[in-house]
Point group: C2
Chain length 226, copies 2
DNA sequence: TCAAGAAATATTGTCGACAATTTATGACTC
DNA sequence: GAGTCATAAATTGTCGACAATATTTCTTGA
């Protein structure tokens, strides 16, 4: 674990936060594990105060849970909690798509189309893992940015997407939904480009709901084997 | 400003957070004002470390904005930002109403009906200020709790509603929408009780959207006088 | 061997101090 | 009076230390 790079407008605790956020999302600090302030402060060569500030921020984006006088633990999402997140995503991303249809610039739409094309290329070259791990969320990320609603962007990109990324890293994506998802992405781009907010919302919600239902099926199958 | 009461499962910084959260929402620390750590630590008789942890949490719920090496300032919401919040509310509260129609218990529904009745009584007795300042949000709060989606509850109740409360405290509510809003509340209760999630969502979204449009009109009138 | 209690150890929360950065003040010039 | 620069003062970020709390280890008795 290497401390994130210095940068003009950041504090040491910002850098510790970035470092830990990545380490948690990527599984270097495993879900469920207890965070030892002295150990981590020593490993990162910072004082506990900076570390505590970073841990507070990790708590704010729900990557750790914290208990008074006990400390922080990396979150473990059970199936129920994942489904909760997908309900919230459906609502927020539906609204994001509606607002994107109204606010997205030509440049942003071009970037979105390019990304969807890149994803097609990846899938044709049997790189569908890249799409599922990272690319899918990149697509969603661009649409949320295109909403031009800073509150929406903050809720999704600074909070929920960390958790989604962590979950994907932890469990992989074995969804068999790649081709349909990509087709849905393309259709969403088209209606956003056409400025049809209502249809964009409907299609995005359907898209996220399909992922949720897929997850529900997977969770039910997992229960059957336990 | 009196430090919030001690309680088994809280730390001093939790108590500082509660104290400051209330002080900001209620305007005791005015919007836009710079937060001086030394002054505030002295006033509350705590060390700067506990105060900084509390300020970090205020930042997480967007009640303050923070800049490295400059410090924290109580947020000032302009009209644009308020409208952003209302778009997010529409999405999240629509979903909350849908989920509430599925998950709310009989007891919860009874409590919701009681609250709506209490609000009618207040309005008949010319206490409509109470409804607009506090009661309206209490109603929404109960529905969000009734969604039984902890992520949704967290986003709205631990984050956005602080800001909404702050805004209402700052600007008052002069909306002329009291009677229509209450009728909408009652109708929403009925469809939730009937278990009709889709209609609950539609009606809740319409309700929040009407508030947003009302706010838009007020903002346009305010611009006209500037 | 196991369970309960006490003691030791480690960790978390808070403290005040120091270093780095920003802001306020004063002096000078035009 | 306004603008610029240098200096002083204040504030913010980080540090290590201490107090409070939790966890681990050890001891004792059944």
């Amino acid at each position: 674990m290497i401390l994130a790079a210095e940068n003009d407008a950041t504090t040491l605790s910002d850098r510790v936060f970035e470092t830990l956020c990545s380490a948690i999302v990527e599984g270097d600090i495993p879900a469920g594990s207890k965070i030892s302030e002295p150990d981590l402060a020593k490993k990162l060569q910072v004082s506990r105060a900076s570390l505590r500030e970073a841990i507070g921020r990790l708590e704010a984006c729900h990557l750790v849970t914290r208990k008074p006088n006990v400390g922080a633990r990396v979150v473990e999402l059970d199936g129920e909690q994942l489904l909760e997140i997908y309900h919230v995503r459906e609502a927020l991303e539906g609204m994001a798509a509606r607002l994107a249809a109204r606010h997205m610039t030509e440049q942003e739409i071009d970037a979105l189309r390019s990304l969807a094309s890149e994803h097609s290329r990846q899938i044709e070259q049997d790189q569908s893992d890249d799409f599922q791990q990272v690319g899918d969320l990149d697509f969603h990320f661009l649409i949320v940015q295109g909403s031009h609603n800073s509150r929406l962007i903050n809720l999704l990109c600074d909070d929920l997407y960390h958790l989604v990324r962590m979950y994907r890293h932890q469990f992989g994506m074995t969804s068999q939904r790649t081709q349909p998802a990509l087709a849905e992405h393309r259709a969403i781009v088209d209606v956003i480009a056409a400025g049809d907010g209502e249809m964009a919302e409907l299609m995005m919600r359907r898209h996220v709901r399909a992922s949720r239902e897929n997850l529900e099926r997977m969770l039910q199958q997992a229960e059957r084997f336990e």
